[in-house]
């Protein structure tokens, strides 16, 4: 198929219909609008007004944006925690915070960033973008989606309730036993962590189920897997990884809570238990988790770099294979977090080798990007700046990753500031920079307004410089012997200068992130109107208005290639077919609140699904779970039972109403 530069005039036209405004493809043709359908569609799809609508919505776009707002609130909380730590470390014996407070800070910083920011923010983007990129109207299970958000909010709130109780967790974000068991952590602080982790895992898991089924069954007709946008591929891989890994951390934190609440003996060597068991369980999830974060970020970069190179991605199949390979291999490397525990050397060798092998698919991805850049011509927009920043930062992070995979070397640098530098390069640089690119890239689609390019550029450079100034010196500190999780260090060891530099860089980086926050808030009101496709991009979300109407697409697009908006010739949109052969693709289906269901392989429509009405049920079910976990926290079994009952009522009503339409 020939690729066509969408910047040229002659935007694709619908088959058999003239459309006055080419940018409104997939929304409403004039003729349809003339029939007054637009108002009817509005009524059918809009939520209840005000708070009622807020609590009952099942719209993936509203929920997706809610995920983003909530996750970013946690981001700035965790960022503040980081800056307090950096202030304490700027000089030896700074006396800014004492050891107890410092330990709480690093515990909550890590826990918040992983569980309450990085994971949910990517889920939020997936929530928002999946139906739009796939050319449909919502996720497979809209009420489950709402439930997933409420669980995330409640779980995060439960964790932060610990501050109000004066008991923030202080066991580190991975909460090793025996330190986190009762004898050594007698207060309820760790319970906020353990129960919070179990709780938030429910959100992640049901979200993953939603993403998998949506991708399997709700793509636009003609969108075979081979034509699916790469971001969707990354979400698919991520979702499968979640399903296979999250249970391990649920069990790990669950067994810690059992030992703490009920006095079981899982991790007590005196009664036959094993402290190392916890580490295996935790890292079996922990390592795939970082790739769960990395892959959707990569998916975003596989989207933006081609668009801003005005060139389709080179090596689509290579990229898909690389995503899937990373997904698989990531399950075989977890014990590289445990090289210092005294494992048998054969096992360490295997994990070392596997950890090195995973660099190869990352290399493939790099050469896909490089080939794309070489073939294209770059437009230096803010999203492209962040994308290029990602390429440089992840290059460094990936290389230090290969270094720490070398077991003997890791024995020196694990649990030191070297590995702190490494994982911030990959988790902050290679995940946060793409997320910021995504804000600038998809923000206009979500709000209908462009963000300020000027402020965007300043924000990028501030973040990029601040990031490197802060985290690069940490490699050196680790080599010089500075361990992790220390609240101060000896004056005579010469670490003061590097720490001071790192602190300054950290504040600069934080300032950069605030600039984007300001940019986003300001441009929501004052930014220039974005229009449907301000970036001349190729995927389907740009074929509808910015922001999209509640129903996403009035008429479902039909797809014949990987780059629907870059195809030559007409842009196909299914028109009403009186024979009824292709149900669910036309405006009438939209008026019935329906979207088409396709078969998974050939993506041919075979049925329609009716999207549920807004409802309180997901909120009630999530609320019931919150009550349950609170009951466990305070050891009040009646409260726990009440919570389970409430959740059960919610679920019962939910399933009772579930349509039994299918065979």
């Amino acid at each position: 198929m020939t690729v066509h530069d969408a910047a040229e005039p002659g935007f694709p036209r619908t088959i058999g219909r003239e459309i006055a405004d080419p940018a409104s493809i997939g929304v409403l043709s004039e003729e349809v609008a003339r029939r007054g359908v637009r108002r009817h569609l509005q009524e059918v799809w809009e939520d209840h007004p005000g708070l009622h609508g807020f609590f009952t919505t099942v719209d993936h776009k509203r929920l997706g944006m809610r995920y983003l707002y909530t996750a970013f609130a946690f981001f700035f909380l965790a960022g503040a925690q980081a800056l307090i730590m950096r202030t304490q470390l700027a000089q030896p014996d700074a006396g800014v915070v004492g050891p107890q407070l410092y330990n709480e800070l690093f515990t909550m910083h890590g826990t918040t960033m992983i569980f309450l920011f990085n994971t949910p923010v990517l889920a939020g983007f997936a929530n928002y973008l999946l139906p739009l990129q796939l050319g449909t109207r919502d996720l497979a299970f809209p009420r489950l989606n709402a439930f997933s958000y409420w669980v995330f909010l409640f779980a995060g709130s439960l964790m932060y309730l610990s501050y109000f109780a004066g008991r923030p967790p202080d066991g580190g974000w991975f909460a090793y036993v025996p330190l986190t068991l009762k004898p050594f952590s007698p207060t309820s602080a760790i319970d906020f962590w353990g129960l919070g982790v179990m709780f938030v895992g429910i959100s992640t898991t049901v979200g993953a189920i939603n993403f998998v089924v949506t991708i399997f069954k709700y793509r636009a007709p003609g969108m075979t897997l081979n034509r699916m946008p790469l971001f969707c591929w990354s979400v698919l891989t991520m979702a499968f990884m979640i399903l296979f890994s999250v249970p391990a951390v649920t069990v790990a934190s669950g067994l810690v809570e059992f030992d703490r609440i009920f006095g079981t003996a899982f991790f007590d060597p005196g009664r036959g238990g094993s402290a190392l068991l916890y580490q295996h369980l935790f890292w079996f999830w922990g390592h795939p988790e970082v790739y769960i974060l990395f892959l959707p970020a990569v998916g975003m970069m596989l989207t933006t770099i081609p668009v801003f190179s005005r060139q389709r991605l080179a090596g689509y199949t290579f990229a898909v294979a690389a995503l899937v390979a990373i997904g698989f291999i990531s399950f075989g490397v977890w014990a590289h977090h445990m090289f210092a525990t005294g494992m048998p050397s054969l096992a360490m060798g295997v994990f070392s080798a596997a950890s090195q092998v995973i660099a190869i698919p990352s290399g493939v991805l790099y050469f896909c990007w490089i080939a794309t850049l070489l073939q294209g011509k770059v437009r230096w927009t803010t999203p492209m700046l962040f994308s290029t920043g990602f390429l440089i930062i992840f290059l460094i992070g990936g290389l230090t990753g290969v270094m720490v995979s070398v077991m003997p070397f890791d024995l020196q640098v694990t649990d030191s500031y070297f590995v702190v530098a490494h994982f911030h390069y990959v988790l902050n640089g290679a995940v946060v920079f793409p997320i910021f690119a995504a804000i600038y890239y998809w923000g206009p689609k979500m709000t209908g307004r462009m963000l300020s390019e000027r402020l965007g550029r300043i924000s990028f450079w501030t973040m990029f410089v601040g990031f490197n100034v802060s985290f690069f010196p940490m490699h050196l500190l680790g080599l010089f012997g500075m361990p992790r999780r220390v609240f101060t260090y000896d004056r005579g060891w010469g670490w003061g200068t590097l720490n001071l530099v790192a602190t300054v860089g950290g504040f600069v980086f934080g300032l950069g992130t605030l600039l984007t926050l300001v940019n986003f808030l300001w441009s929501k009101r004052r930014g220039t109107t974005a229009g449907a496709n301000p970036w001349h991009a190729d995927t389907l979300e740009w074929a509808t208005t910015s922001p999209p109407p509640e129903y996403d697409f009035a008429e479902i697009p039909v797809v014949a290639g990987r780059h629907p908006l870059w195809e030559e010739g007409s842009f196909p949109v299914a028109a009403p077919d009186p024979s009824g052969a292709v149900a669910g693709l036309d405006v009438a289906a939209a008026e019935d609140r329906e979207m088409p269901v396709v078969d998974g392989i050939e993506s041919l429509p075979e049925d329609t699904m009716r999207i549920p009405e807004p409802t309180w049920v997901p909120l009630i079910a999530a609320g019931g779970l919150l009550v349950f976990f609170l009951g466990m926290l305070v050891r009040a079994s009646l409260v726990g039972v009440a919570g389970v009952a409430l959740a059960a009522v919610g679920v019962a009503v939910w399933t009772w109403r579930a349509r039994d339409d299918e065979r």
């Binding site: 050594f184 190392l276 060798g349 080798a353 790099y366 490089i370 290969v402 050196l476 010089f480 361990p483």
Partner: protein
């Protein structure tokens, strides 16, 4: 970006030399294992730098160059396969061989090592010498030029013994003794730290590792056996201090070889005066600091399991006089 990187590398070399002698700098090795790993680091650094420069050049060339067709005449597939699979595979294979070689180097079992046991507590290190049964704390003395075999254990939570100048770290896990081998090349003091977060005072859990020439070491070891008779007080203050020590809570937690103080909850104090630091690295060992430690333990090391004793100041002075005589 490139100039900055080169400057940083040079800075590394400079700083590596500049870091203080007793700082736990893994790039200033004092033993064969750390030397192997340090050598490995330099190889990895230069390899990574090379890859970084090449890939960055390609990225920048692509980002800033004019639009072009297939790069260098290669098709997409060849470019991606060579650059993304073949070349990384070769580099990683070399890294893999290095991994195995150095791993084997550092895990060789020595013959007739000097045996010692280091046991992690919250937040101090217990040191037990196998040959004589001598028990000390927060200081490990070893003969130079001879392999040392350390059994690393813990009585409570997971700690990690890390002496960067001689070897990589090894976790101290309750219920699972681990074994660390190293050799110290030269006499003098180097620093070890706890490298696994173990609670409120994880930061203050240093261990001084002191290398002594074999003859000096044998003499020292002979003077410090489990059955050494106690140091006799040489002044009235010291005698009062000794009496206070035995009568107050002190002897319930601490031990001093040859006396009736046999407590095991806290560090052994037999050679307290010879140690460079107090409180496992919290403060330097001076009489003033010792007074502060006894009078206001929680102020010096908050969260420490030693309570602040409410002793009248003259008793504290006596204790200090007694304890500063313990070598």
């Amino acid at each position: 970006m490139r100039t900055r990187f080169a400057a940083v590398v040079l800075g590394t070399l400079v700083l590596a030399g500049c870091a203080s002698r007793s700082s736990p700098n893994s790039l200033d090795p004092a033993g064969s294992q750390a030397r192997s790993i340090s050598g490995l680091w330099w190889v990895l650094l230069w390899t990574a730098t090379g890859v970084f420069v090449v890939v960055l050049t390609l990225i920048l060339w692509g980002a800033f160059g004019r639009r072009r067709g297939n790069p260098g005449g290669l098709g997409d597939h060849r470019f991606i396969t060579v650059g993304g699979i073949a070349v990384p595979f070769v580099i990683l294979a070399i890294v893999g061989v290095l991994t195995v070689t150095v791993a084997r180097d550092i895990s060789a079992r020595p013959e007739d090592p000097f045996r010692v046991e280091v046991i992690g507590h919250r937040w101090w290190w217990e040191v037990r010498y196998h040959d004589t049964g001598f028990v000390s704390a927060n200081e490990l003395r070893v003969p130079t030029g001879r392999p040392v075999s350390v059994t690393v254990r813990s009585v409570d939570v997971i700690h990690s013994l890390w002496i960067p100048q001689v070897a990589g770290k090894l976790d101290a896990i309750p219920g699972q003794p681990n074994h660390l081998t190293f050799e110290l090349d030269r006499p003098g003091r180097i620093t070890g730290l706890c490298a696994e977060y173990c609670g409120i005072q994880h930061t203050n859990m240093a261990i001084a590792v002191v290398g002594m020439e074999p003859d000096d070491f044998s003499k020292w070891m002979a003077e410090h056996s489990a059955r050494t008779s106690p140091v006799s007080p040489t002044s009235a203050a010291e005698a009062r201090g000794e009496a206070t020590f035995m009568q107050e809570a002190c002897s319930g937690c601490h031990s001093i070889a040859g006396t009736m103080a046999t407590g095991t909850v806290g560090p052994a104090l037999t050679d307290l005066a010879a140690r460079p630091l107090l409180g496992a690295g919290a403060i330097p060992n001076t009489p003033e600091n010792l007074r502060r430690w006894i009078a206001d333990t929680q102020g010096v090391k908050p969260g420490s399991l030693m309570p602040t004793l409410d002793l009248p100041p003259d008793e504290v002075d006596d204790l200090v006089a007694y304890l500063t005589g313990l070598r």
